[in-house]
């Protein structure tokens, strides 16, 4: 835990500088984009990624990984779209309550598998990824739910503008702040970081490591559930393949933001920067005249470079010794 403030700021700062430089360069080269509304649109565009990445980071901190987030988004999104189609009268508030609850339930399944049945996180969430994705199809019978079948309140909530930013952006900023404060000052939040940083030491300190992993999966699931509603409302459509493959982008944003896959290392600020970095990259390509088909290749390249740089950065001594011994020549 105490290594954290020593190693993370320089990395986060350099990423912030890089993102800012990219943004400034683009705005200088294309002056018509240099406005606050561009920045607001960028934030709106990356908001869902930010929320999901904050949840993913919480799981990564415990040495786990949650591959089922995108399937969770699709399943909760579909369930809530169906709910709204059948019961449009109550408006958006029950949806806002149900979304994180349903998502947390799906996350709790992951958490119980990992905590109680000792299934490796990657296997457990690979399994639930397939199950949740299949359930979306079963639930919808393969049909699409389009915006004309959703109520106006349901659709408008995330897009409504408040104090210059969309509700979606405010939710992302608020959610990230909550996760950041919880991980730093909350008892369970601190346990999560400790459990991932050194499980043996955490055990001796009286922390239930499995239980902390469970908490992390529930948080990740709740955020994914919320994003399920936000995704469906923002894009105005729910179908089986919603957010297909998005889990890997979420992990990519975390890794670029300096979160260690070996647990214990990562900050909300870094993750937000990782998301913004991917967002700027994605929005810059059309400006530079590259076809959108280049987006995946460029973000893949950025991710590959980022992981190599992160692997080279100094981390806590014990772990890097084992790794360099294990993988040298």
């Amino acid at each position: 835990m105490t290594f954290q403030p020593l190693t993370s700021p320089p990395r986060a700062t350099s990423l912030a500088l890089l993102t800012a430089a990219m943004l400034a360069g683009l705005m200088l080269a294309y002056p018509h984009t240099a406005s606050l509304s561009t920045l607001a649109a960028l934030l709106d565009d990356t908001a869902i990624l930010m929320l999901l990445a904050c949840g993913q980071m919480t799981v990564l901190l415990t040495r786990g990984v949650d591959l089922s987030v995108a399937a969770n988004v699709a399943l909760t999104g579909m369930a809530l779209a169906l709910f709204n189609r059948h019961w449009p009268q109550p408006g958006v508030w029950p949806v806002l309550l149900l979304a994180p609850l349903l998502g947390a339930l799906l996350g709790a399944v992951n958490g119980l598998l990992v905590w109680r049945l000792r299934v490796a996180p990657i296997v457990a969430t690979l399994g639930t990824l397939a199950i949740y994705r299949g359930l979306v199809f079963v639930l919808s019978e393969g049909a699409w739910i389009n915006s004309n079948q959703m109520s106006a309140g349901f659709l408008d909530f995330p897009r409504a503008s408040r104090l210059g930013l969309t509700t979606l952006s405010w939710l992302a900023l608020g959610g990230a702040a909550c996760i950041g404060l919880w991980l730093r000052y909350g008892e369970r939040g601190r346990n999560i970081r400790a459990a991932g940083d050194n499980p043996d030491a955490a055990l001796y300190a009286g922390i239930d490591v499995g239980r902390s992993q469970f908490h992390a999966f529930v948080v990740s699931g709740a955020l994914a559930g919320l994003c399920g509603y936000l995704w469906v409302a923002r894009f105005g459509v729910a179908y089986t393949d919603v957010a297909q493959g998005f889990e890997l982008q979420v992990i990519a944003a975390c890794v670029i933001g300096g979160v260690s896959i070996n647990g214990g290392v990562g900050t909300v600020a870094g993750v937000m920067l990782g998301c913004l970095f991917l967002g700027v990259l994605k929005n810059a390509l059309p400006l530079l005249g590259l076809s959108p088909f280049w987006q995946m290749a460029v973000s893949g390249l950025a991710l590959t470079i980022a992981v190599v740089v992160n692997a080279r950065a100094p981390s806590s001594g014990r772990r890097s010794f084992i790794e360099s011994r294990g993988s040298a020549s």
């Binding site: 990984v65 598998l113 049945l117 000792r118 299934v119 490796a120 990657i122 296997v123 457990a124 690979l126 399994g127 639930t128 990824l129 397939a130 199950i131 994705r133 299949g134 359930l135 199809f137 079963v138 393969g142 089986t240 297909q244 493959g245 890997l248 992990i251 990519a252 890794v255 896959i261 070996n262 076809s291 088909f293 280049w294 987006q295 995946m296 290749a297 460029v298 973000s299 893949g300 390249l301 991710l303 590959t304 980022a306 992981v307 190599v308 992160n310 692997a311 080279r312 084992i322 790794e323 360099s324 011994r325 294990g326 993988s327 040298a328 020549s329």
Partner: protein
């Protein structure tokens, strides 16, 4: 605790006759076959069974060497991305008017290079393999999209169709032969060579293996290249069967292929697993999805069963051992 148990298990499985897990898979496979033939009158004849091979041959060709890689303690998520990139390489070669041998060489070279990049990132740069291959997955698939965009390449020479559509002898398709050959190769390497023993040792405890004088990095690098080339072989079979290349080819296959490996009883943290188990898992998933197809049940519903199976594979033995120790 974890390591010692996996070493013990490894010791027991050094010369596997047919251990418990593989027997369970075999029983499940027989049950699926019996169920299929009971539910569909068209299932149990040679032509249908031969048709069923395409359900698993292409994925199985990758799952087998991937099992070796997972036993050594690493994983490769980028296999489907390599298929896309290798398929694009073949398409470009075909577009340039090259003949079949050059097209095959283009695929295999691409696969080997892609695998080498993965191996380099993991063994030289020290990146954890799941993160490294998530990155290269979007790099490879993104490369395919960047080159092709929304176009498709279809002008393959006629002789190229043999690999995905042709039969070698009677009803033995070229795809089935490729799968059987790959299974034999992997079984011999893993169970009957020094390299195979070392792969187990590296996965069971990398540090001990390193201190015992095994070049852990070199073995892992070679396995990444092998998985890359196997993905190229799968790309050849798939592209030849479809007769066209699109950048979205084999989208999402990586999860199915990894599921096959885990279902086959290979431990995700390395050190345990057998080729017999993986072959049975590949057949099981292949015939399960083929049977679902005959019953007109969409593939996505079948993914629910695969997901449940995947979790049960790991959770049930744990529950059983806890129940026994009570």
């Amino acid at each position: 605790m974890n390591t010692s148990s996996s070493v013990a298990a490894h010791g027991r499985r050094a010369t596997p006759p047919l251990p418990a897990w593989e027997s369970a898979l075999a029983v499940a496979l027989l049950a699926v076959l019996a169920l299929n033939s009971a539910l569909s009158p068209y299932f149990l004849n040679a032509e249908t069974l031969s048709d069923a091979t395409w359900q698993f041959a292409e994925k199985g060709v990758i799952a087998l060497p991937l099992a070796l890689l997972v036993i050594s303690g690493e994983i490769d998520i980028s296999v489907a991305g390599i298929i896309a990139l290798a398929s694009v390489a073949m398409g470009l070669a075909a577009q340039a008017g090259c003949d079949t041998p050059v097209i095959l060489a283009a695929a295999l070279t691409t696969g080997a290079l892609a695998g080498a990049l993965n191996g380099f990132l993991v063994t030289v740069c020290g990146v954890s393999s799941i993160v490294a291959t998530i990155g290269t997955m979007s790099l490879f698939r993104g490369g395919a999209y960047a080159i092709l965009g929304d176009r498709a390449i279809k002008q393959y020479p006629e002789s190229f169709a043999f690999f995905g559509q042709g039969y070698v002898v009677g009803l033995v398709s070229c795809e089935l032969l490729a799968f059987v050959a790959m299974a034999l190769l992997c079984a011999v390497v893993l169970h009957f060579t020094i390299a195979g023993r070392r792969i187990y040792a590296i996965g069971a405890n990398p540090m001990t293996a390193r201190f015992s004088g095994i070049h852990t990095g070199r073995h892992r690098f070679a396995l990444f290249v092998a998985v890359g080339m196997a993905s190229a072989v799968a790309a050849i079979l798939l592209t030849s069967r479809l007769g066209s290349t699109r950048p979205s080819i084999a989208q999402g296959w990586e999860l199915e292929i990894v599921s096959m490996v885990i279902l086959g009883g290979v431990a995700v943290d390395g050190g345990r697993g057998s080729i017999a188990g993986v072959v049975l898992a590949v057949l099981l998933m292949g015939f399960l999805s083929f049977g679902f197809g005959l019953l007109n049940i969409p593939g996505i519903v079948m993914s629910i069963f695969v997901g449940l199976l995947l979790i049960a594979v790991v959770a049930v033995p744990h529950l059983l051992s806890r129940w026994r120790n009570r």
